[in-house]
Amino acid sequence: MIAIIDYGMGNLKSVFNAFKHAAPEADIRVTSNPTDIKNARHVVFPGQGAMPDCIRELDQRNLRASVIEAAETKPFLGICIGLQMLFDKSEEGNVEGLGLLNGTVKRFNNQNTKDENGHKLKIPHMGWNEVSQTNHHPLWRNINNHDRFYFVHSYYLESKDENIVSAETLYAQKFCCAIAKDNIFAVQFHPEKSSSAGLQLIKNFVQWSV
């Protein structure tokens, strides 16, 4: 069973639909039940909205321990805020994350940065941007280096540990858009909204064993 963790933040329908399409035979559950998360063979940790709200809602549902246990033991995919929450802290609301990985989440600065047409850079970073893979990983299988994925976020990860960076993207500056460590893979973009490249990544995750 694949558990998509529901802690009340944002809409998980898109994530569910994409998993259902990429892995039609799999048992996919959107769940806030710790037992489901414990029994799942793969766990998906999505996130939308503001990180302080996400952390609060996670704790209100007593899911912190389940998430940490899953992230330490089985194939685990973080998406968007689900990536950001794995780290030490975020500038958004100055909140502490789960502390599973070292790094700080910071807000994009668009002062004095222009796009190629001379217009100011917008925040949120919204749309299709190139993902440059920086290491080999089973989740990049059959995905071309520099394929575009769909992003929507105002905060990005500044990692202190270069070894966990699995892909980078350029917006205002180069930033880490995917991390890989042991059984954890997490992405800042939205594979569930990234058409064929995104569906391929989801398929790769479902087939990933660690």
Binding site: M9, G10, N11, K13, S14, N17, A18, K20, H21, Q48, G49, A50, N110, D115, E116, N117, H119, K120, K122, I123, P124, H125, M126, G127, W128, N129, E130, H146, R148, Y150, F151, V152, H153, S154, L170, Y171, E192, K193, S194, S195, G198, L199
Partner: protein
């Protein structure tokens, strides 16, 4: 290499069909929404916008079924607007599979809805749509915000309104020039640029696309982050792919 400018075909939906009018009137049938959505996805659309223009509330539920069907087969962002009045409407659309919900008239009736919904569901899913028309009053002219599909003048200045909506939490603004909508004369570039220069959030330019140069101008001159068009795609004049190839030849970053 950087962020791609987006091309967004817009599907005006009523009674379960895609339609297209001129200046919001005189509707022509343009097909089944699920089929049209799939076609644009295959052609490489970066995102899809659905506008529920159903006049009566009787058929309101139809759009939810349409979005549900599209979201099971098309994995790019889906924006849905039209008749969104309360946070519950936003929730229902998101649960049906929409990624973003566009709010127009109700933001003017109650601007707080933008704050409420963006706080609850995240700014990333709240788009505020602004229909604006150049208005001359005495010796002063300004872009005035209209509501109810362009029928009611509000007296509001579109640029100030855009800034207010971004401040209340809109994650993106969809700017339609009513003077240009359906005319095929191109975007109102001054309007788009005036708003794009003022606000930090991405701007979708809409209203008036008649040929591919208009899309290029929207990005290069107007400073739009995304360009929205309907009739040039619906009636087979251009494919999304042709639009992208043309934009690329004009040195605009696009997703291929």
């Amino acid at each position: 290499m950087s962020l791609a400018k987006r091309i967004i075909p817009c599907l005006d939906v009523t009674d379960g069909r895609v339609v297209k009018g001129i200046n919001f009137l005189d509707l022509k049938d343009a097909g089944d929404p699920v089929e049209v959505a799939k076609k644009y996805n295959e052609q490489g659309a970066d995102e899809l916008a659905f506008l529920d223009i159903t006049a009566s509330s009787d058929n309101r539920g139809l759009i939810l079924h349409i979005i549900e069907s599209v979201a099971k087969e098309v994995f790019i962002p889906l924006t849905v607007g039209g008749g969104v009045r309360a946070p519950e409407d936003v929730r229902n659309l998101l649960n049906a599979g929409a990624d973003k919900v566009s709010i127009n008239t109700s933001a003017i009736v109650n601007p707080d809805i933008v704050y409420q919904t963006s706080s609850r569901f995240g700014s990333q899913c709240i788009v505020v749509a602004i229909d604006a028309k150049l208005t001359v009053e005495g010796d002063k002219s300004f872009w005035q915000v209209f509501t109810h599909g362009g029928r009611n003048a509000t007296g509001l200045d579109a640029i100030e309104w855009a800034e207010k909506m971004a401040a209340l939490g809109a994650g993106e603004l969809l700017i339609t020039s009513m003077d240009r909508d359906g005319t095929k004369k191109g975007f109102d570039l001054e309007l788009i640029k005036a708003i794009s220069d003022k606000v930090d959030v991405p701007i979708i330019a809409s209203g008036g696309v008649g040929d591919l140069q208009h899309l290029v101008d929207g990005v290069k001159i107007g400073g739009a982050d995304a360009v929205l068009a309907a009739s040039i795609f619906h009636f087979g004049e251009y494919t999304i792919n042709e639009a992208k190839t043309f934009m690329k030849s004009n040195h605009i970053e696009i997703r291929q």
